[in-house]
């Protein structure tokens, strides 16, 4: 098994005719993802790349192509609208890649989709991949291999780093999720840990956090209380100065809160294998899996 996406996932790409959308949709198809429709308002009725039908609304894509997941590449000013549309049309998994969505937009849209049966990933994230089955995102597919490790991360390239350290040691992944670097994201560490807890294939989870907010502390509480599997964690930003936004909109130590030290302490107390160096993620995973 795996979580969120698999070979049966039928994907619509919102913003498929844009530069980013086109580039990454092609890469996803090459990987084997079932991209069955695109949405660009005003371009309905055309074929993207001469093969994939484009619709004006997500609703049409759901009705005509049976899509159940949406991958969003629309610009930040229209992204919250696109998320709400995908949720309204009944997509169960929505992955928002877009960086730069105003936080108040995210706050409102997340509140609005609360009652729906939907799992939003992102925004400002690399997406989700179940190796060998479905890549919904912008990550380089070849670095992943199939296996027992689940990955949840607030970062993009740092996730690739961690995954590569595992893959080159012959340790594959069940599903990897970049949850995004914004202050408000669709799914938190806790939301996804709950899914991994129930997934038979996943034997260990790598959690990559960073400064800002309290999502890692909340994850630590959950892990201590209910999580059945070992967790290896790294927290980026130990050397980050307070009060400065480190690239990601959510990576900021504000009012003395959200430091790497606090997060590492909470995770250690929950029994998590916290690594000091980002270069030690792969070897720690190997060691912990070997012990089992």
């Amino acid at each position: 098994m795996s979580i969120l996406v698999n070979k049966n996932t039928r994907v619509v790409v919102q913003g498929i005719t844009g530069k980013e959308g086109t580039f990454h949709a092609k890469q996803c198809i090459e990987y084997g993802t079932n991209i069955v429709a695109g949405v660009t308002p005003g371009k309905g009725g055309t074929l993207w790349e001469g093969k994939i039908p484009v619709y004006n609304t997500v609703q049409e894509a759901v009705e005509k192509e049976g899509v159940n997941a949406a991958l969003i590449f629309v610009p930040p000013a229209f992204a919250a609208d696109a998320i709400a549309e995908a949720a309204d049309a009944g997509c169960e998994v929505i992955v928002a890649i877009t960086e730069g969505i105003p936080v108040i937009d995210m706050m409102k849209v997340k509140r609005a989709i609360r009652e729906k049966n939907v799992r939003l990933i992102g925004p400002n994230c690399p997406g989700v991949i179940t190796p060998g089955e479905c890549k919904m995102g912008i990550m380089p597919g070849y670095i992943f291999s199939r296996g027992p490790v689940g990955v949840i991360s607030r970062s993009g390239t740092l996730t690739y780093e961690a995954v590569w350290q595992c893959t080159t040691r012959g340790i594959g992944q069940s599903t990897c999720i970049g949850i995004g670097g914004d202050p408000i994201v669709g799914s938190t560490f806790v939301d996804l840990l709950k899914l991994f807890n129930e997934d038979d294939e996943t034997e260990l989870v790598v959690l990559i956090g960073e400064i800002g907010g309290t999502a890692e502390e909340e994850a630590a509480e959950y892990i201590k209380r209910e999580f059945k599997k070992p967790v290896v964690a790294f927290i980026a930003g130990r050397t980050a100065p307070p009060g400065r936004r480190m690239g990601h909109a959510g990576a900021i130590i504000a009012g003395g809160k959200g430091t790497a030290a606090e997060k590492m302490k909470a995770l250690k107390e929950a029994g998590v294998h916290v690594v000091e160096s980002p270069a030690e993620i792969g070897e720690t995973v190997a060691r912990v899996l070997g012990k089992k």
Partner: protein, 389 residues
């Protein structure tokens, strides 16, 4: 984005939030003229810099005559104000805000942020105004009252009523406080603020509620829909290298160390700083050249790093995923040649076509120091910065 107190107070006025009468001055003459127009015999002169702790640092002074306003303004404009938030180099005061003095009965605190955990706007008040709110939060958190506002509902009066009564206000002040909070909420949401803080919020002897101080930060991601807010940016308050980097769309933050970092992706960039520190070095900056690490962004990144005289070595740590490592290597070689980079360059590339890329770097006439892992790169960069390799 941060704005000055006087700019925040202008926005407050637009939303009907009471602030002291006053005006902003760039010269002592202007300051004097503002005081003359205000009248009375008690004035406050406040340095306008983007930093807290101005009062303790001598950036807020009382004056009892227009002549004294002139003298105070003369001393303040052009001074380097050093507060606990500015760093030891301080901040140059270019403008002062001259305001009427008030008869203060009591000092309160009010603030608003988006709470990340509940994903709601939270309005906070405290009867302990005028002091650092973090101190109050640490010492007696129960003295900070909070209302988590449902974003779908917006600020209905009960939230404000709860806080106003919680502060122990009575009579007319309750009504004034509710109006104040509802206006602040509207401003916050309509203008996409990320932080609002009024410390102190004062009750005057005449029974008015006035924002004596005003701090507003705005969501950078929302500035596209608020050109009037974007205009308030004061680049003099920012590090010149950071301003330069922002022109190239690079995420750059200047730090105090000697190892310049060039990394793709914010998380990996932070992790690179961390690992440098683990090996005993100090990063000179945070720099994210973007996930794709295009040759243009690599060149611009070199420009920024080379403008920092403290940089003794550069550590380039790129994970080439969608973008191939050989392309990145090509960009690095061209930029390093064109810009005649003088300091040692430690390079670690990982991902697609890594081996081809490493050969390209090895065979170029430039003396790159190649690393085969992140840890190896960090170790070599630390040694290079010390002149040991």
């Amino acid at each position: 984005m941060k704005v000055h107190e006087y700019q925040a107070k202008e926005l407050f006025k637009q939303y009907g939030i009471p602030v002291p009468r006053g005006g902003v001055a760039e010269t002592p003459e202007e300051a004097k003229r503002i005081a003359e127009e205000l009248g009375g015999n008690l004035f406050v002169v406040k340095a306008q810099v983007h930093a807290g702790g101005r009062g303790k640092a001598g950036g807020v002074k009382l004056a009892r005559s227009v002549e004294e306003v002139y003298e105070v303004a003369k001393n303040m404009i052009g001074m380097k104000l050093v507060t606990h938030q500015t760093g030891p180099e301080g901040k140059l005061v270019r403008k002062v805000l001259v305001e009427e003095g008030l008869n203060i009965e009591k000092e309160l605190y009010m603030g608003m942020v988006i709470d990340r955990s509940t994903e709601r706007p939270v309005l906070m008040v405290s009867a302990e105004g005028g002091v650092e709110i973090e101190e109050v939060a640490a010492r007696s958190p129960e003295k900070i009252l909070k209302a988590y506002i449902d974003p779908a509902l917006g600020i209905v009066p009960f939230y404000a009523r709860k806080l106003a009564y919680g502060l122990g206000l009575t009579g007319d002040l309750v009504k004034k406080a509710i109006e104040f909070m509802m206006a602040l909420y509207r401003l916050f949401i309509e203008k996409d603020a990320s932080l609002a803080e009024i410390n102190p919020l004062v009750i005057t002897k005449e029974g008015n509620l006035i924002a004596l101080d005003a701090k507003l930060n705005f969501d950078d991601n929302a500035l596209y829909r608020h050109p009037e807010i974007a205009e308030l940016r004061d680049i003099y308050e920012e590090d010149p290298l950071e301003v330069e980097a922002s022109k190239y769309d690079l995420n750059y933050i200047k730090l105090d160390g000697t190892i310049g970092c060039m990394v793709n992706g914010a998380g990996l960039a932070m992790a690179t700083m961390d690992i440098i520190k683990l090996y005993g070095g100090e990063p000179a900056n945070f720099l994210d050249v973007g996930g794709a690490a295009s040759s243009e962004s690599v060149k611009n990144a070199f420009r920024i790093l080379m403008s920092d005289p403290a940089v003794k070595a550069v550590f380039i740590n790129i994970f080439g995923g969608i973008v191939r490592c050989d392309r990145v290597a090509e960009g690095i070689i061209n930029a390093a040649k064109e810009l005649e980079v003088k300091v040692p360059m430690v390079i670690r590339l990982e991902g697609t076509n890594r081996d081809v890329a490493m050969d390209m770097l090895k065979n170029s006439e430039l003396k790159f120091i190649l690393a085969d892992s992140m840890a190896d790169g960090a170790e070599k960069a630390v040694k290079a910065a010390r002149g040991e390799i």
